[in-house]
């Protein structure tokens, strides 16, 4: 993975010093809260219901063992012994004190981490495929360009005060695990007919109150011209994006208001003026960054790996876990492991400091010392030998993270909701916990098959409910928590916006309602047809009928 050089480290240190000064001035009253708020947000610091919350950036979801251990230390030293992995591949602490923030940031910087641009109206921490570099069907490791984007977007002089937040995601494969069409800019690395590497550029995706899938503004952007093209998009947005209404300030609204053709024309016109002005990265620098993502030296292993195959035969629990949580690796004899942070009845994405340390130990011993965070709020060990999978699974069992549920109905995404978040209208986590408990039986889960439930506690959609096969949106109805169901959303290369099924349900009713939706699916599915395929085949009617009866 990428390692800071002296220049990166200087920037990181100067950021800590800058924020130390800003916190000091705030505590002395030299900065008002209105002035300080955007500054703290750009360091990832929010005020939530009970305390400050810090969102630590995990660029493109990749962490070293040393970083994971430091995150555990920080959870103990500055928080209450745990953290929360989010749908943005980041980690949040819930109990942070403003006066301790400078020291905390210095600790983070000691392992090349920070909270930069994890909030605020700026280019946010870039996200990427959590299987980057280890899957077979990849044009190029998306973390290389993600690191290029991380550096370019860090403290950009022109684009740090945008109309609204701005999220960029990258996939290096046609199979999209980064939900690129749901981002302000989505990049898909492709090869053109001449065999050159470049990008499909999507612009204007976003969730929130008005869910919009991105528009493809360019079918092929040559790789070396990326930064000038990004600047052209950002400049059009910075100048013409709406600033009078926070709900209409995302770039998706500008694209809609101008129309995709006119928006694209303006971007291309701007780009023509700047593409040759030295904004693009020197190719040597791209090569330098790419070197950090050279794959580890894989051993030559012949498949099948007997010990692994035997263990699956002897141990049904292990075999079930392999069937959901272990994914094909590009190197023979290796595997990619999803560590489920969704134990039955647990809080999706939550992880204690001790569990972080245990994951770090596993990665050090079995996975080339690297851990990934996913936007599904799980972790990934990207480089595990098949022969070691049984030991990994057993150790994960000891720390409570061996559930064989990746991609299944209990692999629920949930935002923190009203338990923590000052924006929320309803709780998300208890709904996730109760769904998980209702469907706890593993055979039943495996029978239901692939099904993504995503829960948001308010219309801002941090729980990605618009992209859930089943989406649940919490609302406030006369002071009571109510939950609306959407069906048919997707976040992959077949991205779609979930459609509202009908009137909402009380907290007491919602889990029964979800069970009915699942029941309707089981009634009408064809052999081996996953939930989303059934929904696409039959539409909402059978589900509506099951939930609301015939009128």
């Amino acid at each position: 993975m990428y390692i800071y050089d002296d220049f990166d480290q200087t920037v990181a240190k100067q950021r800590v010093a800058e924020f130390r000064d800003q916190v000091d001035r705030r505590l002395k009253g030299e900065l008002t809260e209105e002035q300080f708020r955007p500054l703290r947000l750009m360091n990832g610091l929010y005020l939530q219901l009970h305390a400050y919350m810090l969102r630590v950036a995990v660029p493109y979801g990749t962490m070293s063992v040393a970083q994971v251990r430091k995150l555990a230390d920080i959870a103990r030293k500055y928080d209450r012994g745990y953290g929360h992995f989010t749908t943005r591949q980041n980690l949040q602490y819930n109990w942070i004190k403003l006066e301790q923030m400078p020291d905390l940031l210095a600790d983070l910087a000691s392992v090349q981490m920070h909270g930069n641009q994890t909030s605020g109206n700026c280019v946010r921490n870039v996200t990427a495929d959590h299987f980057a570099g280890v899957i077979a069907d990849e044009v190029e490791d998306p973390r290389i360009v993600s690191e290029v984007i991380r550096q370019w977007s860090t403290f950009h002089p022109e684009f740090s005060w945008l109309p609204r937040k701005f999220k960029i995601a990258v996939t290096g494969a046609a199979k999209d695990r980064a939900a690129v069409q749901w981002h302000d800019i989505g990049l898909q690395i492709v090869r053109n007919e001449a065999g050159e590497v470049g990008y499909i550029v999507f612009v204007g995706g976003g969730m929130g109150r008005i869910p919009v899938l991105a528009t493809k503004v360019r079918a092929f952007l040559p790789k070396q011209e990326l930064l000038s093209y990004l600047e052209a998009i950002l400049r059009v947005y910075n100048r013409y994006g709406r600033r009078d209404n926070i709900h209409k300030a995302r770039i998706k609204i500008l694209v809609r208001d101008l129309g995709p053709e006119e928006f694209t024309r303006q971007v291309e016109a701007e780009w023509e003026q700047t593409r040759h002005t030295g904004i693009n990265l020197p190719p040597e620098e791209e090569t330098r960054i790419a070197r950090y993502f050279t794959p580890p030296a894989y051993e030559a292993i012949t498949e099948p790996v007997t010990a692994f195959e035997d263990a699956k035969k002897k141990n049904r629990g292990f075999a079930q876990w392999v069937s959901t949580n272990v994914h094909p690796h590009k190197a023979p004899g290796y595997a990619i492991v999803t560590i489920s942070l969704k134990p039955i009845g647990g809080i999706p994405g939550d992880i204690s400091a001790d569990q972080m340390d245990a994951v770090a130990d596993l990665a050090e011993r079995y996975s080339a010392a690297e851990v990934r965070a996913t936007h599904i709020q799980n972790l990934v060990l990207p480089n595990v030998k098949q022969a070691d999978l049984l030991a990994v699974w057993q150790r994960l069992g000891e720390i409570g993270f061996a559930d064989a549920n990746a991609g299944l109905i209990t692999d629920v995404i949930a935002c923190p909701g009203l338990d923590y978040c000052s924006l929320a209208n309803a709780r998300s986590i208890p709904i996730a916990q109760r769904i998980s408990e209702r469907f706890a039986d593993l055979d039943r889960q495996h029978d239901v098959g692939e099904l993504q439930i995503k829960i948001s506690g308010c219309i801002n959609a941090c729980g990605h409910h618009h992209a859930g096969h089943i989406g649940i949106l919490g609302v406030d109805k006369a002071g009571q928590e109510f939950y609306q169901i959407t069906l048919g959303g997707a976040g992959d290369e077949t991205a779609a916006t979930g459609q509202l099924l009908g009137p909402g349900f009380s907290s007491d009713q919602i889990v029964d309602a979800i069970e009915k939706v699942v029941g309707a699916y089981l009634d009408i599915r064809q052999p081996n047809e996953p939930f989303i395929a059934t929904y696409r085949r039959v539409g909402p009617a059978p589900f509506k009928e099951k939930l609301y009866g015939t009128r």
């Binding site: 009253g29 219901l49 009970h50 004190k97 006066e99 208890p430 002071g479």
Partner: protein, 102 residues
């Protein structure tokens, strides 16, 4: 026409320095909602708002609000959001505080 807003209310915010959720007691700030001074009339609520604005201007508390509480002796907050603020996340009871000092 909206009903006149006459129910009992308390003044709450979060301490600038550490973010803790606190309630105005009539002379200082407490972690516990049961310590809060209750405004029984719109005039008293307006007085709390002024005190809150001054405490905000003095960089003591942020996210300052006057919120409804129930008409009971322990004046539990009326809305679920404020109930959760008063104690802590419902999914981590082990980390909660009670509404009143031990």
């Amino acid at each position: 026409m909206a009903k006149p807003d006459t129910g009992p209310k308390v003044l709450t915010g979060n301490l600038l320095r550490d973010g803790a959720t606190v309630y105005y007691t009539g002379k200082d700030w407490s972690l516990y909602v049961t310590d809060a001074k209750v405004a029984a009339t719109p005039e008293e609520a307006e007085e709390l708002r002024k005190i809150g604005a001054a405490a905000y201007a003095a960089n003591l508390v942020i996210d300052v609000n006057v919120v409804d509480v129930q008409s009971t002796p322990d004046h539990v907050p009326a809305h679920i959001r404020e109930q959760i603020r008063a104690t802590g996340p419902t999914v981590r009871r082990d980390l909660n505080k009670s509404m009143s000092p031990e």
